[in-house]
């Protein structure tokens, strides 16, 4: 074969854009250099994965590794992700990088609500995944997924930058599988605000109010008469109590399933 620039370009094009080419529609040979046929989904997802802007949002120690990932050695710019936006309105991906505390969680949920769809969440580290080393702490939330949906979990304490990059590539994979015809954010009335947790005597999720009332006010129904302290101390629930609370939970689920 001649080693001409044209063939080089052809090679280049076919190797680099392979993933985005359409496999059934044939382009005539003389148009090969100018025309590329692909699907809308692929273009849509290609552009989204190649410029996914994370929210500039550090919570704790894991944020230091996130900064290291963005810095020269690991260089997130290779993935089109170096543009960290401090404003949730401009960002596509929230990297929850660190321990989620009760005092902070209302702010996090609010920020999540402010992000425009499509939006993704990556839980970075043991803390954001499930509470991590501080799980038992009185001010620590056992993982951000108790409040907002998470797309990718990256374990580690802290995860190395390599691990974060691996998680981000997994997220890219996830994005590439989505189809513009099916994604929820172009449908009507599907995007819901997540109710902001409230700081009461302890943090509570407004969605769980009924369950909590059952526990604090319906004292006889849930706990034995022994629990007379001012503060409700946790204990493993008996079978009756569990059954009772199952009913409450079912009632609650039935209620939220109905259209507003």
């Amino acid at each position: 074969m001649e080693d001409s620039p044209a063939t080089n370009f052809q090679d280049l094009k076919s190797t680099q854009t392979q993933n985005y080419l359409h496999d059934t529609i044939q382009v005539p040979d003389d148009l090969q250099a100018n025309v590329m046929v692909t699907t809308l989904d692929k273009v849509y997802n290609w552009s989204r994965t190649s410029s996914m802007w994370p929210l500039l949002f550090g919570l704790a120690c894991c944020a230091i590794e996130m900064i290291a990932t963005a810095a020269s050695r690991f260089d997130l710019a290779r993935f089109g992700m170096e543009v960290m936006r401090p404003s949730p309105r401009q960002s596509d991906l929230m990297i929850v990088s660190g321990t989620v505390t009760k005092k902070m969680v209302p702010a996090i949920v609010r920020i999540y609500n402010q992000m425009a769809e499509p939006r993704y969440v990556l839980a970075l580290g043991a803390c954001a995944t499930g509470g991590g080393p501080f799980k038992e702490g009185y001010n620590v939330v056992s993982g951000i997924d108790t409040y907002i949906p998470v797309d990718v979990y990256v374990p580690g304490c802290p995860p190395t930058p390599e691990a974060l990059i691996y998680g981000l590539l997994k997220l890219h994979k996830k994005v590439e599988r989505q189809s513009i015809a099916k994604v929820s954010w172009y449908k009507k009335n599907t995007s819901e605000f997540i109710p902001i947790p409230v700081l009461g005597p302890d943090v509570f999720d407004p969605r769980q109010v009924e369950m909590i009332r059952e526990y604090t006010l319906g004292a006889g129904a849930v706990r034995g008469p022994a629990a007379a302290e001012v503060r409700v101390l946790p204990q493993l629930l008996t079978a009756d109590q569990k059954a009772h609370l199952e009913q409450v939970r079912a009632r609650y689920l039935a209620k939220v399933k109905q259209p507003a």
């Binding site: 550090g58 919570l59 704790a60 509470g131 799980k135 038992e136 702490g137 001010n139 302890d202 909590i212």
Partner: protein, 606 residues
């Protein structure tokens, strides 16, 4: 005051004459405590302020390092027998003029009682007393603004009290029984129907809950705190009839280095008052720490100031070594100093990068500044297996020896790379016009005010105070090395930037000597002891961490777990000065003032 009281013939005083200071402040000291370990004086609550004033003015104990509290209600040691009071508030005073050790004061407080606030003598007690109030519920009489700083207004209970149990409470002490397979295991989440880490008081109705309004006083300039402010440019905007507004920055804000919040009252762009608000990363370090065994706390200290895990390890190891009288082999001492100084270089470069970030030079200078950090992290990873959370030191040494070839790599770093990089930073930043314009004369606070506010570390050295614990009260083997304490007189943003560069150079000097002199031999003296019980007593040990004075206060009641474990976090206490330093400057400068304090939220909130 001295002459006045020396003559006063009080009858009960004769019994107290055996105690020090009773000749100058009669009836002040009423007993001794923790004689076997870190001797403390028990002070009568009503005489506390008089005694503190005397110590500050006559004995030059001008630096209130730590204020904390111990709840003795579950104390198992013998020494507490017969003492009715439940709480002790604990004060540690140092002298920045004389150097040397501390005076340890305890004030016994019955439940429900209050203590006079030390803020009138040491304004730096401000945040620490708020913390004690927040976590123990002890009221400080005369505190200008006692509020919950780490938790929120309305939180149920005072979590550090020994009888307060969290939702995931399992057992008093680790290791927990259910970690053994025969017991079976359960999920914490199954304990409560809503499957999360929260409990609510009986009879509480979530539907009618109204969040209490927490009053953060940014309505007036903080003049009532007792330090004299030498600035007077506040009134410059006074001629225009403007209205001041309160601006909220954070907790999610790119300038706050994490989840920190500031409330600023501004007029035009001039800050009239500024109040820090924290707790968004309060991870209950101390509560968890009192449940852990002594050794289990070591990895948790990594997560305090997560940029400098090695110096946190060092501080904690030294505290326990003092409490339990553990010897450290020679080689381990050298290794420790090498690690501590490497973290100092890392930290100072990081903070220089981020001061510039705050000045608006987004990202590029920070990328330059933290480039070398990666190389040093590689060294840490080689010895400890982890880049960030090294968990490397143990009581009596370090956990493993340096791997083969490590010293050569470190020498190459220290001899060749680091000096060059520091020179490069110097060239790039120091003469920079914008750096000068934004940094010179901004954020000024006098050395006297800074010390009164309990500020420590590079902050006071940038105000001309040559106070560094490595010299003032040498620990490890710092007295063997030849290094200087750089100081700069200006006490502004620029000086705070430049002092860090100078200190990093001194660290390189220490590193060169340590790498040259490091001997062979044993690196851990306690390899045979997995758990141990230090004898009853307490210890307060502080080290010169890169951010300032890092102290560990531990109380042992002869058990395998600490009875009290408290961290005197430099970032937290340095924030005392944030408001006073920002007042009178522009709101954009307040961001840099915060950056130049160099806080890490893991340590601020713990």
């Amino acid at each position: 005051m001295t002459e006045l009281v020396a003559e006063a013939p009080v009858v009960e005083q004769t019994a107290d004459a055996a105690y020090p200071y009773n000749n100058v402040v009669p009836g002040a000291v009423i007993g001794r405590w923790a004689e076997g370990s870190d001797p403390a004086l028990v002070v009568a609550p009503d005489k506390l302020i008089a005694l503190l004033t005397h110590l500050r003015d006559q004995e030059s104990y001008d630096f209130l390092s730590s204020v904390t509290c111990v709840d003795y209600s579950a104390y198992a040691g013998k020494a507490r027998a017969g003492i009715k009071e439940r709480f002790d508030t604990v004060y540690h005073l140092y002298s920045t003029q004389k150097g040397g050790g501390h005076i340890n004061l305890h004030v016994r407080v019955p439940e429900g009682d209050s203590v006079p606030s030390a803020t009138s003598v040491y304004p730096g007690a401000n945040l620490q007393e708020c913390e004690v109030y927040d976590l123990y519920g002890i009221k400080f009489e005369g505190h200008p603004n006692l509020r919950r700083v780490l938790l929120w207004e309305g939180f149920n209970g005072y979590p550090m009290r020994k009888d307060w149990k969290e939702a995931y409470f399992e057992e008093e002490n680790k290791p927990f029984k259910n970690r053994h397979p025969a017991e079976g295991y359960f999920w914490h989440e199954d304990k409560l129907p809503w499957g999360s880490n929260s409990t609510y008081p009986e009879g509480w109705d979530p539907e009618s809950w109204q969040t209490p309004i927490s009053y953060v006083p940014v309505s007036q300039a903080p003049e009532g705190l007792g330090y004299d402010s030498e600035k007077s440019n506040v009134g410059a905007v006074g001629e225009l009839d403007t209205q001041s507004i309160v601006v909220n920055l954070g907790p999610h804000h790119p300038s706050t280095h994490g989840v920190f919040r500031m409330l600023a009252r501004i007029e035009g762009e001039t800050v009239l008052a500024l109040e820090p608000e924290m707790g968004y990363l309060h991870r209950n370090h101390e509560k968890i720490g009192e449940r852990n065994t002594w050794l289990m706390n070591m990895p948790f200290t990594d997560r305090l100031d997560y940029i400098n895990s090695m110096s946190n390890n060092l501080g904690y190891a030294l505290a326990i070594e003092k409490l339990a009288n553990i010897e450290v082999p020679e080689r381990a001492n050298y290794i420790r100093i090498i690690m501590a100084e490497l973290t100092r270089v890392v930290n100072h470069m990081w903070s220089i990068g981020f001061i510039l970030n705050d000045l608006g030079a987004l990202q590029t200078p920070a990328l330059y500044a933290i480039e070398e950090r990666e190389m040093i992290l590689d060294l840490f990873e080689a010895v400890s297996g982890s880049r960030l959370m090294c968990n490397y030191m143990r009581f009596g040494g370090v956990v493993r020896d340096l791997p083969a070839g490590w010293l050569e790599k470190a020498k190459y770093m220290v001899d060749t790379r680091l000096p060059n990089v520091l020179d490069e930073l110097d060239r790039l930043i120091t003469g920079n016009e914008i750096m000068m314009a934004r940094g010179r004369g901004v954020g000024y606070l006098s050395a006297k005010d800074l010390i009164a506010l309990s500020v420590s570390g590079p902050m006071i050295r940038a105000a001309g105070v040559p106070y560094d614990i490595r010299k003032a009260q040498p620990y490890c083997i710092y007295d063997r090395f030849d290094f200087d304490i750089p100081t700069l007189p200006e006490s502004d943003i620029f000086a705070r930037y430049y002092i860090r560069l100078l200190e990093a150079r001194e660290s390189v000097k220490i590193l060169k000597q340590a790498l040259r002199d490091i001997p062979g031999g044993e690196f851990l003296s306690t390899r045979d002891k997995y758990t141990f019980r230090p004898t009853e007593g307490e210890a307060y040990v502080r080290v010169e961490a890169p951010k300032g004075e890092l102290g560990f206060y531990v109380v042992s009641d002869n058990k395998a777990n600490p009875y009290r474990y408290h961290v005197r976090a430099p970032s937290f206490i340095n924030l005392n000065a944030l408001g006073p330093m920002s007042v009178g400057y522009k709101i954009a400068d307040a961001v840099v003032v915060l950056g130049a304090i160099d806080i890490v939220l893991g340590e601020v909130d713990r």
